[in-house]
Amino acid sequence: MRTLLDIDGLTIGFGAGEPVVRDVSFTVGAGETVALVGESGSGKTLTCRSVLRILPEAAQLREGTISYAGKDGTVDLLSLSERKMRSIRGDRISMIFQEPMRSLSPLHRLGHQVAEVLRLHRSIGPTEAKRRVLEKFEKVGFVDPARAYASYPFEMSGGMRQRAMIAMAMIAQPEVMIADEPTTALDVTTQAQVLGLMRDLQAETGMAMILVTHDLGVVANMAQKVVVMNKGRVMERGTAEQVLGSPAHGYTEKLFAAAPKIPNVAEPPRISTNTGDDVILDLRDITKSFTMRAGGWRKPTVITACRDVNLKVLRGKTLAVVGESGSGKTTCARVALGAEKPDPGGEVLFHPSTDATPLPVHAMTNAQRLQFQRQAQMVFQDPYSSLSPRMRVMEALCEPMQIHQIGNPAERREKAAAMLEWVGLNPNMLQRYPHAFSGGQRQRLSIARALTLDPRLLICDEPTSALDVSVQDQILTLLEEIRDRADLSYLFISHDLAVVARIADEVAVMRAGVIVEQAPPAQLFHNPRHPYTKALIAAQPKPDISRPIDLALVARGAGSPTTWPEMFRFDGPDAPALRTLEPGHMVRCHA
């Protein structure tokens, strides 16, 4: 195989500091996919961007060469003139970015943006350019290429925009495509389809690909060669079979251990005395619709975010609500907390203790609300915005107690220190500022803050989705420990089935505002009945090259509810009822 790109001894640094990418070497052969794997801060993005020399201004290329053996001979990309570099970018080497929402210009039609590449690099007329773009659009899976050509990016979903990006990156038939976390921002079923598309296109055109990702599952599905990076250095490099089959470096092993997996064998359910009558939070017939005002001229449109949701969180147990973006799971959580009022007919009841009278969450007196706020706390998604940058850790942890006027300052400080130890941190952190800490540490702080009021119920809104896999693993372990230690109940919102597989006692899968299937994880993962659940499970990339994603299974369930098999199909509000197929296993289907 011909070597196309040879990156040798690449070292990049900022200012006078230590290099952030140190002595990175690997080669990319023609038609080959090389995966750069690493966690945030590992330097993988800087490495791949240095190939196109699109680094941040402050970055210095200190050492190394990147030689590119293209059609027109071998050149060193790092010392090429800016003019020649421009003729390579987009033409010989192209790139796909992570955020499909931000990487297309909102002011130009998709077709024109893609055709621009041709205008820059090929001397062809507009008709010919349009013909080629339409052809490419059809290849990347647009059902109606002409419509896609004339539409603006905001009319498209994230997955469709990423397809357009792929079309743009491939239109000039480059020899190398760099994909920087191309599917990280996408839902898991969309990710599976986009990955499948990229693989097919690559096989068809024979171009090489550098795939930057943090997900070993994606690597297993896509790459022939793997480069594992950590803190700017290459930890391990080899073929996919070698690295994924028998990892030789401790760091790779650690990544493997931390990767969330859907279990192969049913784990025995946690032993618990709660038989199912001791409910802590009870959502009854929750429907939430929003009225969108479209200006005074048109009729306002009503959007139903979730419909007929009945959920019970059992005391001491974890109920997980899983769904992709727009499935209504976050609305459910907000209703459960009282932040949104459900439509008339629904109610949320909170049972502070087994025998106490339930509190109606949306019709509480002020005293009841204070009691509810003490007992139900929330853990947020983004650890970087959930702590005020102006407050020391101590102030942030003591604040809930100040609000509820619990204890004196000394007692509060003691409680804060105790909570820090609960979440595995050293109490001498109290005097520090949250900005000194990493995402995982800050998520621990935010959990500690939620615990200071001794709550009974914790609502976790995607608490790990902004974290690296190894940190995610630690936080999940921590949440499990705390649940058992303080006898907490969790309402756990997530988009990731594999995360939920680990922590939940009961899983509800949502799609298009309704619960389509609900069961304990053992039943749900081993006997999924609903096509959408099956698609979700199948779409989860596994870090094992012998188990690629089954795209047919994904395609069957991932579409809109109108495309599901007859038994499950519905359109708009007339969804079938949830039926109990076996004890504890409910599926939304026609009889």
Binding site: V234, M235, R237, A248, G250, S388, R390, M391, H435
Partner: protein, 384 residues
């Protein structure tokens, strides 16, 4: 694929999984916000110099009387429209120390103007810590000691004298006392109004927001200069200079708040979406607590920057009003009042130094702009 086996590489350096999960990842960020802001601000050299310059200016204000050789309304009837004099050190090749040449005025009856002749034979040394006219140090302590003054028989008009024979340099120093503080008082008024209305609009939204926004738009649509004129014309002419000064600064403040209120409102809206604000609300914090403890500290720095950027507008506003004769009036001294004397084109042509008060205005306004710009750039110390 077989040839790739030799591409296998495993990092030989020892690697251990153990990490201290309590160790701060970025210890450089472990500091209060003001310190981080300062570290960033220090790198903006122009802003730093401007800041030091402005600080010096404001520190000089209370002791302006000590530094100025004359008092603002001290007339030298023999020296009307005297040109700027220079202070020299050497005379005829020998060191004398700081001295001036005496000047004498003669009336040019053909052109109807004063002409000055400099006697370059007798250098007269300046006196230091000498007695002069009475003034109040810090506005309170009566004193008559000046840093330097002219020796008997000579004058020291560094930047010339005006129509009535008053020293322009001294008057600029005294004028700074009013011209520089008018901005501060005005900005305080505009700050209070801006924060109150901006916060109301941003936090409560809905109707309140609508009403405040429309009020802002109406205020903004009024032509500024005529409005100033109308408002200052309404100030009774029999009021003392100090009362007029306060009223002028308050008028400037009242007209300036809409811009600040808008900034506050938009900052409020974006901060409300931050999760730490939502977390505080979920903990049961009342709106007043959320605003005081979470919102205000996080946008105070932005406010200070935008305030710094609007002080120049106030200074210019005062100058414009006084220049037109509608702001401060003699015997009060401000830069605008001094420029009022330079309204006559002919007098600027002949006695160009009467327009010198423009210089400090330009320098101070520029300095405020540089400072504000530097502050704004260093406000978000958490993003590198």
């Amino acid at each position: 694929m077989t040839q790739q086996t030799d591409d296998r590489y495993v990092d030989p350096e020892p690697w251990s999984e153990a990490t201290d999960i309590s160790a701060p990842e970025r210890s450089d960020m472990d500091a209060p916000a003001w310190l981080l802001t300062w570290r960033k601000f220090r790198r903006h050299k122009l802003a730093l110099i401007s800041g030091i310059f402005l600080l010096t200016c404001y520190l000089i204000l209370p002791i302006a009387g000590f530094i100025a050789p004359y008092t603002p309304n001290e007339r030298s009837a023999d020296y009307l429209y005297a040109p700027p004099q220079s202070v020299n050190l050497w005379h005829d090749g020998s060191f004398v120390g700081p001295y001036v040449y005496p000047i004498t005025a003669t009336a040019d009856l053909e052109n109807f103007r004063w002409t000055y002749t400099t006697d370059e034979t007798t250098p007269m040394r300046l006196q230091f810590f000498c007695e002069g006219d009475d003034y109040n140090l810090f506005g309170l302590i009566p004193s008559d000691t000046h840093l330097f003054c002219a020796p008997e028989g000579a004058t020291v008009f560094l930047w010339g004298s005006d129509r009535l024979g008053r020293d322009v340099f001294s008057r600029i120093l005294y004028g700074a006392q009013l011209s520089l503080t008018v901005g501060l008082i005005g900005i305080t008024v505009s700050f209070l109004l801006g924060i109150t209305f901006g916060a109301l609009a941003g936090y409560f939204g809905g109707k309140t927001d609508w009403i405040i926004n429309r009020a802002i738009e109406i205020l903004r649509s009024l032509p500024e200069l005529p409005l100033w004129l109308a408002l200052s014309a309404a100030v009774p002419s029999n009021w003392g200079p100090v009362a007029v000064f306060f009223i002028i600064s308050i008028i400037l403040g009242i007209l300036d708040w809409p811009g600040l209120a808008r900034a506050v409102r938009s900052k409020f809206l974006s901060l409300r979406e931050e999760e730490f604000v939502k977390a505080a609300e979920m903990m049961g914090a009342k709106p007043s607590r959320v605003i005081r403890r979470h919102l205000l500290p996080n946008f105070m720095s932005h406010l200070i920057a935008s305030a710094t950027l609007s002080i120049p507008a106030m200074i210019l506003g005062e100058t414009a009003l006084s220049f037109l004769g509608l702001g401060l009036r003699a015997p009060a001294v401000s830069w605008g009042v001094m420029l009022n004397d330079a309204q006559n084109l002919a007098s600027i042509e002949i006695y160009w130094w009467t327009a010198i008060p423009m210089l400090p205005i330009i320098v101070v306004v520029l300095a405020f702009n540089f400072l504000g710009d530097g502050l704004r750039a260093s406000l978000d110390p958490y993003k590198s």
